[in-house]
């Protein structure tokens, strides 16, 4: 950091050094901010792939289970043997899809693409990685 200059340097050059240092500090801070934001984004939103998978899987299966159980209970109560289970199973399936889309939307919102590479309007470059 400290340049081996003579101590009796002119105030002009000293000012220049300070300005240079200030801009360097600013750019370093900016970099650190970006880094921290990326770290928190990927760190907070379930960073392990397994966690992500289990999250989506449970959301999907739980809805199907709940739908099927409700249908079964309707059948038990009303004596409409297969229909309650069949219909509510499908409703549960739809609810599972809804859950999954919600979770994925939220995950995408939590981890936006890094600002560096411009992916452009069509994401064809994604195939390369």
């Amino acid at each position: 950091m400290i340049k081996p200059q003579d101590d009796q340097s002119l105030p002009d050059s000293a000012k220049g050094v300070t300005r240079d240092l200030a801009s360097r500090i600013a750019s370093a801070k900016r970099e650190r901010d970006i880094e921290a934001r990326r770290a928190s984004a990927s760190g907070s939103a379930e960073m392990t792939g397994m966690g992500r998978g289990v999250r989506i899987g449970t959301e999907f299966i739980a809805a199907i289970l709940v739908g099927a159980v409700i249908g079964y209970l309707i059948d038990l109560g009303l004596g409409t043997r297969p229909w309650g289970l069949l219909i509510m199973f499908l409703v549960g399936f739809a609810a599972g899809i809804l859950n999954v889309t919600r979770v994925v939307t939220e995950m995408n919102k939590a981890a936006p693409p890094p600002p560096g590479p411009d992916l452009g309007p069509d994401m064809d470059e994604d195939d390369d990685r």
Partner: protein, 251 residues
């Protein structure tokens, strides 16, 4: 466990009585014991570390304050300033799950959260609080949660049951996620550790082979610490998001 050919990865989840008052009476199990230990450790640590109330905190107090800030920011971010009413609730849940998971990582300790009934009870607690507060605060407007805005009325008979099932599935997915992560992690750990024992008993070549599952076990142990913290975080985040639904039912 003495017999190397008989590794039982499920044995660690067995519930045993520490003491009981006869058949069908009150029984204090190892699960209950570790719940008490979990709560005890949380209370002792948090109360003990913040008792000094120093302006310049010591190490223990910094950890407590970090935990507080972390959960407070999470609740504020997910449920707004109004959600801070539920901060004690979310903080208690977070600390309980976190410390219970971490206790589970210590050898020979019982993992409370590896039983679905425990996680389901926690999830039902969240669910009931959300429903009760939602109706208390919004009255019947809370039911707008099931009617998304901008949906034409002729699709509502299909959309509303789907939304209701989606809402009812929350406690299931919340509890199954925590339980499945912890259970799967502990079983994997045990199975790989079992490979070390059975391979190591095969002589010199087996000794060489046993180093592979040993490396794997170390890696999985590290991963499990991550999962333990992460699942506590996920549980708390989802709780505060559901609380946000109770406060603002129209999404």
């Amino acid at each position: 466990m003495a017999d190397p050919n008989k590794v039982d990865p499920i044995h660690q989840f067995a519930i045993t009585d520490v003491f009981s008052t006869g058949e069908g009476g009150f029984a204090f199990t190892n699960s209950a014991l570790f719940m008490v230990l979990t709560v005890g450790l949380i209370i002792i640590y948090l109360v003990g570390s913040t008792a000094g109330r120093r302006l310049i905190p010591g190490r223990a107090q910094v950890v407590s304050e970090l935990l507080y800030e972390f959960v407070a920011n999470m609740v504020r971010g997910a449920a707004g300033t109004e959600g801070m009413k539920f901060f004690p609730f979310v903080f208690s849940l977070f600390m309980f799950v976190l410390v219970a998971n971490m206790f589970g990582m210590i050898p020979f300790f019982f993992t409370v959260t590896s039983h679905i009934i425990v996680t389901f009870a926690l999830a039902m607690l969240v669910f009931v609080v959300v429903i009760a507060y939602g109706f208390y605060r919004n009255g019947f407007k809370f039911l707008k949660l099931f009617v998304p805005a901008g949906v034409p009325s002729y699709v509502l008979p299909i959309v509303v049951p789907i939304e209701i099932v989606s809402f009812l599935s929350r406690p299931i997915s919340l509890s199954v996620r925590l339980f499945a992560n912890i259970l799967a992690g502990h079983i994997t750990l045990k199975v790989f550790a079992g490979f070390i024992v059975s391979l190591g008993s095969l002589g010199a070549l087996g000794f060489l082979g046993a180093s592979l599952p040993l490396i794997m076990t170390i890696a999985i142990t590290a991963l499990e610490f991550l999962v333990a913290a992460l699942q506590a975080y996920v549980f708390a985040v989802l709780t505060s998001m559901y609380i946000n639904d109770a406060i603002h039912p129209s999404h």
